[in-house]
């Protein structure tokens, strides 16, 4: 570096550095979709695939039994009762089961809720397939009403051998302020 003149001028370096700063700021936000993709691919953090699984015919592996436990909680300040009908079921991989979850709107107002699932251990999340679930949609519930919400699932027969127990937990959130139009319309209908 004896030749001082061959150095790039200040503003060129500054521009490049500012460009990097902007890029890293954008990268911070890009982490959000990246995180979602990684979680969906790996089941990181107990993300269950929140789409309806195809209910195609499978072989039931009767040689194994897996204990599936259910936990429910309501988000802080959410004034509903929310409980599973049974706290656990024992299933063979491949076998389809239905479990009901009971919700009760304890308030005097019509409300809309949504349940968010999570599976532990995260690894098991990839093998829990829901063919039908209340958690796919928002749930309207009139003041004081209660409802049994079905969840139908099966375990993928490929579920690793070392998983004997898995826990599916639901947290119920108040979505009244964010209700979608069709749910609102449902709620407007007179009770029959």
């Amino acid at each position: 570096m004896t030749d001082t003149n061959s150095r790039p001028d200040n503003m060129r370096i500054v521009r490049r550095l500012l460009f990097t700063v902007a890029g890293m700021f954008a990268f911070g936000f890009a982490l959000v979709p990246i995180y979602d993709v990684i979680c969906d691919l790996t089941g990181f953090n107990g993300r269950t695939n929140n789409e309806q699984a195809a209910a195609n015919v499978r072989e039931v592996d009767t040689s194994r039994t897996v204990n599936v436990q259910f936990i429910t909680r309501v988000n802080k300040g959410m004034p509903w009762d929310f409980e599973p009908e049974v706290t656990s079921v024992r299933v063979h991989p491949g076998e389809t089961r239905v479990v009901n979850f009971l919700a009760h709107n304890l308030t005097r107002g019509d409300m809309v809720a949504q349940a968010i699932p999570s599976v532990a251990p995260g690894e098991a999340a990839l093998y829990l397939n829901k063919t039908e679930c209340f958690c796919f949609n928002q749930q309207p519930l009139k003041a004081g009403d209660d409802v049994a919400m079905p969840m139908q699932f099966y375990l993928d027969p490929d579920i690793p051998d070392h998983i004997h127990t898995l826990t599916l937990s639901y947290t119920l959130y108040d979505m009244t302020a964010h209700a979608t139009p069709d749910v609102l319309a449902l709620m407007q209908q007179p009770a029959d």
Binding site: T2, L17, F29, N45
Partner: protein
């Protein structure tokens, strides 16, 4: 401004400046700005220290006696934020401003006007942060790590001010980093090749790139907190499709490189001081440069060691565990090189050397507790306990802060033209050394025994340990007032310092008179 080289007066006091306050407001001189940063940092050190005293006073006994828990949480939060962003980082930037141009033979920083801005927005950032403490509902109380949903759903109304102040701090650091990079790339004296640069310059060069890479990510994280809290987005809210664990990934992607931002310049300082007082050149210069680069690179691959207990898959836990342990290899190279530099050197133990030696030993202790924390299965026990508090205070207080004190003593003669009082300096060192260990060492035991961090009350079996820790804390806090006294005394007067007061010291900064003239190296020096 026309100062003749060698004119001795203007750095003596910063009160009787040539043209009053405007000199400091509008200055673009790297030495002035360096001094501003250093004084600002010291002020913040005392403010953050006062908060630590509140914390230790409350924890002196079990039970709640002095402050209510919400205020206690604000103290731990703002203490952390101030020490990280207000004390340690500005101190290093101040040292960079003062020393980098003088070390590479440049007349000033490359972008002097931006330099002025990057300093002067800082006081506003901290005024906003501190002001938020006085608002209804209080200031930030969610920890310096501001995990969502603590900082979104459950935070006080003043959170917008916290976000805004972090934005300003980030902009300031980024401007400072850009300035350092451009200065080092473009302003070196003609024969100052990259591999001749002092290690302090090298370590700051690498630190500046870390800052450029991660401060914007921090800005993104606080922005997401802001929009989640006030504008209805759900980045971190599961109800809207977000995920609170993602907050931790984003935060620690910034957070772990950040801890290296706070230690790499310290490595540079110690690499200047140890050879000077061993009267030997630094052992393994090139390996030091590469080790610093390796540490910086690896620091992007280890963030999730702060999140072992969030339920990651085993493969990920192992990946982050091994990467974390890998960092101790280049770190070990550094410690080895410092020790090898001292080997058979003609050692003398003036205050800067004492602090540098304490740095090597105590930082290594912090590295060991870090290694223990890096072992995934045991971290489940240690996580969120006082063991973590002990770990990061060893690396940050006896690491970063001790190195800053070593630097202050080492370069004070150059800055002020006077020698500091060596006897008082040694008193400061020994009192600090003893009290800091009384303060932080027992925290290891409290943590291993299960005492959680960030709590205003604890069960009775921790009473004795906490009492000892608090006493160490008060002693360490008081001792730093002695440091303030020593520095002021040295600024005001004292034995005249020669151009090179340390006979073993190397570097261009010692070729200019003491105090360093207002303008140095207007014509580039010759580099051997």
């Amino acid at each position: 401004m026309s100062y003749a080289a060698g004119e001795a007066d203007h750095n003596d006091h910063h009160h009787h400046a040539p043209s009053g306050i405007t000199r400091w407001l509008f200055t673009t001189n790297h030495k002035d700005i360096g001094s501003l940063y250093l004084w600002f940092s010291f002020t913040m050190f005392l403010v953050g220290g006062a908060m630590a005293m509140v914390i230790r006073a409350e924890l002196f006994q079990p039970g709640l006696q002095l402050v209510d828990p919400h205020f206690f949480n604000q103290m731990t939060t703002v203490h952390g934020l101030i020490m990280v962003f207000g004390a340690v980082m500005p101190a290093f930037t101040g040292l960079a401003n003062w020393m980098i141009p003088m070390m590479i033979g440049a007349p000033d920083m490359a972008l002097p006007r931006m330099n002025n801005w990057s300093f002067w927005i800082l006081p506003f950032a901290f005024a906003i942060l501190l002001g938020s403490l006085f608002m209804e509902g209080g200031g930030p109380a969610f920890g310096w790590t501001f995990y969502a949903p603590l900082s979104t759903t459950y935070s006080s109304d003043s959170t917008a001010l916290f976000v805004f102040s972090v934005h300003i701090m980030g902009i300031s650091s980024i401007m400072g980093a850009i300035n350092v990079i451009v200065t080092i790339m473009n302003m070196r004296a003609p024969d100052m090749t990259y591999m001749k640069m002092p290690l302090f310059v090298w370590s700051w060069f690498i630190t500046a790139f870390l800052l450029i890479a991660v401060m914007p990510v921090l800005a993104g994280a606080v922005t997401m907190v802001l929009t989640d809290k006030y504008f209805g987005t759900s980045f971190f809210d599961a109800a809207g499709g977000g995920d609170p664990v993602m907050f931790q990934h984003i935060f620690w992607f910034f957070g772990h490189p950040e801890v290296y931002i706070m230690i790499l310049p310290a490595f540079g300082i110690v690499s200047a001081i140890i050879p000077a007082f061993s009267r030997k050149p630094l052992f393994g210069y090139a390996s030091m440069v590469y080790a610093t680069g390796a540490i910086a690179g690896l620091s992007f691959l280890v963030w999730a060691h702060h999140m072992f207990t969030t339920g990651m898959p085993v493969a990920a836990e192992l990946f982050f565990m091994y990467c974390t342990m890998l960092i101790s290899v280049p770190t070990g190279v550094k410690v080895f090189n410092w020790v090898a530099t001292m080997w058979r050197g003609a050692l003398s133990f003036e205050t800067p050397m004492l602090f540098a030696l304490a740095f090597v030993i105590l930082f290594t202790i912090g590295g060991f507790s870090g290694l223990m924390l890096a072992i995934t299965p045991v971290d489940f026990q240690y996580h969120d306990t006082y063991f973590v508090v002990a770990h990061f205070h060893y690396v940050l207080v006896t690491g970063a802060i001790f190195s800053i004190m070593a630097a202050a003593y080492y370069w004070l003669p150059k800055w002020t033209g006077h020698m500091y009082n060596e006897t008082l300096g040694r008193w400061h060192f020994w009192l600090s050394l003893i009290s800091v260990n009384v303060l932080f060492f027992p925290m290891h035991f409290a943590g291993l025994a299960g005492m959680p961090r960030r709590i205003p009350d604890y069960s009775l079996q921790f009473a004795d340990i906490n009492q000892i820790v608090s006493i160490g804390g008060f002693a360490f806090g008081l001792t730093q007032l002695l440091f303030l006294y020593i520095v002021i005394k040295c600024v005001r007067g004292g034995e005249k310092a020669e151009a090179k007061p340390w006979d073993g010291a190397e570097g261009l900064e010692w070729t200019v008179p003491s105090p360093a003239p207002y303008h140095t190296f207007e014509t580039p020096p010759e580099v051997k």
